[in-house]
């Protein structure tokens, strides 16, 4: 298993390949050469992908970085016309964002963070519950599954409009709680409205991924646990959760990324420039729509760094395994190999 993996690892990351050399001293020179050859082949094969990624990811990223160093075009007071060129301002856009517009920036920053933490936490809880329900065999399961997935299929903009009706001053939400709350005005209630709509829409996403994770857990594990008399909560805690963790972490990571970039839901549901729900993406959009691409890029770059940091922390701390088996180091590989039998052994010996 170990031998078949290394070439694959090299193929995708040729640069990393050399560090795994000492692991296999037994390997003959011939084998190494063959691997190098297939490495070149693999590099050739992935090069179209890399090229496309360079064009659609790397180039725009660098362009945005560059653009963020330019200011807005100025108005010539004599002619009344906007100048043709954008002045180079260095890091002033960033200084302005953190200084002059600092209050707005940090407000948006905390809103973004707050939304991410709260929605992802709620979505995880509800999503896992949904997955457990969808996974159970019962009559009408197909209907329940379809029902749970519907919100995820609704485009965010449409669900924003939908919830705006619900949260209207004389909408269903107010009728249900029997008390008039003006949800779309400034205040904490606006945040609540966004969170409810967001969780409604995206909990099924986590549910779906977790369901996929649940379906690969072998039945024998549960059978063994039942024979040993493990209670349902115990089974969930010691079998389901550890085994579904990789899928769950990937789902949560995706949701975090998405939530950090949240734009359309607060924009449509509550409205533009409402401080209670303004997110970093909305600030970037506001600048861009007023033809100030420099500051807009600066906001985007800051958001990019933030998302990047969160992603990095996520991957490092929680070990969310995004690219599967590729280039895994020995310790991790060992862990993975043991992972499936481990709970069974534990339960059996218990």
């Amino acid at each position: 298993m170990a031998d078949t993996k290394t070439p694959a690892g090299r193929a995708v990351h040729p640069a990393v390949g050399s560090s795994s050399g000492p692991l296999n001293r037994r390997r003959t020179r011939k084998q190494v050469r063959a691997t190098a050859g297939s490495g070149r082949m693999a590099a050739l094969l992935v090069s179209p992908t890399l090229l496309v990624l360079t064009i659609v990811v790397l180039y725009p990223t660098l362009m945005a970085l560059n653009e963020s160093l330019y200011g807005a075009k100025g108005l010539d007071p004599k002619t009344g016309f906007i100048s043709d060129t954008e002045p180079f301002v260095g890091l002033r856009n960033y200084a302005d964002i953190l200084g002059q517009a600092g209050e707005r920036f940090w407000n948006a920053f905390w809103n973004t963070t707050f939304f991410t933490v709260v929605t992802v936490a709620l979505e995880t809880l509800i999503g896992v519950a949904m997955a457990l329900i969808m996974h159970k065999a019962f009559r009408g399961r197909g209907l329940v599954r379809a029902g749970i997935l519907v919100p995820w299929a609704v485009p965010t903009a449409i669900s924003g409009l939908l919830w705006r009706w619900i949260f209207n001053s004389d909408g269903i939400a107010n009728a249900l709680i029997g008390h008039q709350v003006l949800w779309t005005t400034e205040g904490f209630h606006a945040k609540v409205a966004v969170i409810v709509a967001e969780v409604w829409k995206t909990a099924p996403f986590i549910g779906l991924l977790v369901l996929a994770g649940l379906q690969v857990i072998p039945k024998e594990v549960y059978e063994a646990a039942r024979i040993d008399g493990a209670s349902a909560p115990r089974q969930f805690w010691h079998i389901t959760l550890p085994l579904v963790k990789p899928a769950l972490l990937v789902a949560m990571l995706f949701r975090c990324m998405d939530a950090l970039r949240m734009f359309d839901l607060p924009y449509i549901l509550i409205g533009a420039q409402k401080h209670s729900v303004e997110t970093l993406s909305m600030l970037a959009q506001h600048e861009a729509s007023n033809v100030r691409f420099g500051p807009a890029s600066a906001y985007s770059v800051l958001l990019f760094l933030y998302v990047f940091l969160i992603a990095l922390t996520f991957v490092r701390l929680l070990g969310a395994d995004l690219i599967g088996d590729v280039g895994a180091d020995t310790r991790k590989r060992k862990g993975r190999r043991l992972r499936i039998p481990a709970p069974r052994r534990k339960e059996v010996t218990a």
Partner: protein, 432 residues
């Protein structure tokens, strides 16, 4: 361990990069293809007309008529989304890439200054358009720094809708001309048993463009100004405060229902139609819709009330502008003349109820019979003050919404809000 870090780094890099795509479409460094004010309009051939979705179904027949008359200079309709912001964004993108795909643009009146200052649209020969036959405030919306940059096509003004049945029952014969009269009329109406749970008045006070319209109207109707003709702000005045105070006090004392600060055009129309309001400030489009509701035959329109007499409306509507980067500009100018002619305006009024820029049409008896509100609308437009005509309109309207909304929901006093607004607008004016 090293590989692990690299991997983690790679994972997160790929994910995060996706987030940056958001704003990568900016452009920098134009080469300055110096377009100046007086352009010669040359070239004949096919052109395009760019506007939002035509919901009235009246546009294509008009274009067909032009195409029949000018088989070699056909006009193609490029349909943009219904949402005004999306239209503006696409037009700007077209201009930033200097594309000749768009020829004639259907511009919202508040975009004129911005498009003209960026030289995205050409200055037009004033003499070729019958401006003297048009209502003056409408023509003003098409100008930037005394130059004509667009041809007025349609207009729009706010009107006061009121419940004739209730006013009559309460013994009021005339619609109110001032805010005080409106409030006292309300007090009388509310003594009627059927009006016990009604609110008095509403406009559009959600934090969006409609708030800018309503705030400007209140300030102008009290004799104040938001910005002068050159975009210089002067809003921290006693008059402006009286205007804003009218709105703020009305929200406080319940003249405006408390959900009024969530109303956009449609919400306020629904509230009026379902009998929740005695008075409503809205656009002419409400007139025919309300005729199909439960209050049919029980309402009429009047000019907007003000502090000491009739108030002033903001102006809506659209103008035609010529993209600087277009080809076949001679054809384009001819088409604009055709599209904005009195004949076309008459057609649009008859078929689509779009308010014309031409004075004469408002006095046409046949049209007045079809649209009984026309005389009121004419008065409203004649007394109207355009919304701030500034290059950075997006920033100005954002600042207005910010401060006006804070005053309306009570988080700032109106004096403080106006003071902050003046400071904000001054800063933007100075930065220009």
């Amino acid at each position: 361990m090293k590989t692990r870090i690299t991997r983690a780094f790679q994972c997160s890099a790929v994910l995060a990069a996706a987030g940056l795509l958001l704003s990568a479409c900016g452009s920098s460094g134009d080469d300055g293809s110096g377009q100046t004010g007086a352009t010669s309009f040359e070239g004949r051939g096919p052109i395009t007309f760019v506007a939002g979705k035509d919901t009235t179904g009246t546009l294509q027949p008009l274009l067909d008529r032009w195409n029949k008359l000018h088989p070699k200079e056909k006009v193609t309709f490029i349909q943009l989304p219904t949402d005004a912001d999306a239209q503006r964004q696409q037009m700007i993108q077209n201009a930033e890439t200097k594309s000749d795909a768009y020829t004639v643009l259907y511009l919202d009146v508040v975009w004129t200054s911005e498009f003209a200052a960026h030289r995205w649209i050409d200055q037009l020969p004033e003499k070729q358009f019958p401006l003297d036959k048009m209502l003056k405030p409408v023509v003003e919306t098409a100008k930037y720094r005394d130059g004509l940059y667009a041809a007025p096509s349609t207009s729009d003004g706010g009107m006061l809708y009121y419940r004739t049945d209730l006013l009559k029952k309460a013994g009021i014969t005339q619609p109110p001309a001032t805010w005080a009269e409106m409030k006292s009329a309300c007090a009388k109406v509310k003594k009627l048993p059927e009006a016990k749970d009604m609110s008095c008045y509403a406009g559009q006070f959600q934090k969006y463009e409609g708030l800018t319209v309503n705030f400007s109207e209140a300030v102008n109707s009290a004799g104040g100004t938001v910005t002068d003709a050159n975009g210089k702000p002067d809003v921290d005045t006693a008059e402006a405060k009286k205007g804003l105070d009218f709105l703020v006090d009305s929200v406080k004392d319940g003249t405006i229902p408390k959900e009024g600060i969530t109303y956009q055009e449609e919400d306020s129309r629904q509230a009026f139609q379902s009998g929740k309001l005695v008075f409503l400030r809205n656009w002419p489009y409400v007139y025919s819709l309300a005729g199909k509701s439960e209050i049919a035959g029980k309402y009429a329109v009047a000019p907007l009330p003000g502090l000491n007499g009739p108030g002033s409306s903001s102006l809506g509507g659209h103008n035609l502008a010529l993209s600087s980067f277009a080809k076949n500009k001679a054809t384009a100018v001819d088409f604009m003349k055709f599209y904005t002619s009195e004949e076309s305006a008459n057609y649009f009024l008859k078929e689509a109820a779009l308010a014309p820029p031409y004075t004469a049409l408002y006095d046409d008896q046949a049209l007045v019979k079809q649209y009984p509100y026309l005389p009121v609308l004419k008065e409203s437009i004649l007394r109207a003050v355009p919304r701030p005509r500034v290059v950075q309109y997006g920033d100005v309207t954002a600042a207005i919404q910010q401060e006006a909304y804070a005053a309306l929901n009570g988080s700032k006093s109106s004096a403080q809000a106006l003071k902050n607004l003046q400071k904000d607008l001054q800063q933007k004016y100075a930065a220009q």
